[in-house]
Symmetry: C2
Subunit: 181 residues, 2 copies
């Protein structure tokens, strides 16, 4: 399946409401527990998504359109969410993610990208040449990676509680292959 | 973390709205594509959750309370969703899942389970003796397994489209460890 701008936007637009439905007002035993040292809980994951919205996705789209391959993207700080989350509640983060995602998508729609624009090229600091279309597809897949991660992190909390069923539950076999961008 | 009835119900109650926010009215290119032969798409997964609601979770809770270990649970038909989904739209399945889940949770709350009830034992046809508490924890983890799966199945559709970013995206490394109960 090729990246398709309308299908990309359709999915990107649903992620904030999906996380909101899953996480808002859920007991903190679900949302503030992680998988162990140097891993993320649901709160951290929403903070990471906000941080990506501010520093990664639309900024990189604009870098491609403005300077092409001539300058590499700013590297993304995978722990940058600490600045986004300090002193905030999960409800505040969910509100903020919905707002910044909505702004990003307004900006993306406003670019009126044509299919030839999607083939424009940029330079990733580690991966080298990438296209705008690949960047947009990665934005979607990054959302899904973190929805996949948050499901796994919460299931992890009942790892012992499920007893012998553990071996039947796919999410319990998932080897923490988490995220990046 | 021990299984806790209030925390279990809090999460179980959110799954229908989470899937609704993610899937309703999404283009069918996301919801009707799977990961290859004998795998499920998002539509199949919602059908499977409905089938579990009718035949698996509360029926097994009641079996434990009524007959204990003396009779094994009915085996769960992992492909039973075909009967649930025939001729229906995804929107109809999402409505139906919300309704049957809500009925299950009303019934569960109505049992007024005490902590000593949670240690009552039943017999799984393959796993042997299990407790009511383990069954309830598994119900939650099963929801999360399928949220994890639906994220992976949709990300799979952009597997090629993300280009070189694929290796950074955890969900693309996930080895289809799916489901069961």
């Amino acid at each position: 399946m090729q990246q398709n701008l309308q299908e990309t936007i359709a999915l990107l637009g649903r992620t904030p409401a999906t996380l909101d439905a899953l996480l808002r007002d859920l007991p903190e035993s679900w949302t503030f527990r992680n998988e162990g040292e140097n891993t993320w809980n649901a709160f951290d994951i929403v903070g990471h998504l906000i941080h990506g919205e501010r520093t990664d996705w639309m900024p990189r789209v604009k870098t491609i359109l403005q300077v092409g391959e001539s300058r590499a993207f700013e590297p993304f700080d995978r722990w940058g969410q600490e600045r986004e989350t300090k002193g905030k509640s999960l409800a505040e983060l969910l509100d903020e993610f919905a707002r910044v995602r909505s702004e990003s998508l307004s900006e993306l729609r406003g670019l009126n990208l044509r299919s030839e624009d999607l083939e424009r090229r940029g330079r990733h600091p580690a991966l080298g040449v990438v296209t705008l279309s690949q960047l947009l597809a990665t934005w979607v897949a990054h959302d899904l990676t973190h929805l996949h991660q948050v499901s796994r992190v919460m299931a992890h909390q009942y790892r012992e509680a499920v007893g012998p069923w553990s071996k039947y539950l796919g999410v319990m076999q998932c080897a923490g292959h988490s995220s990046a961008s």
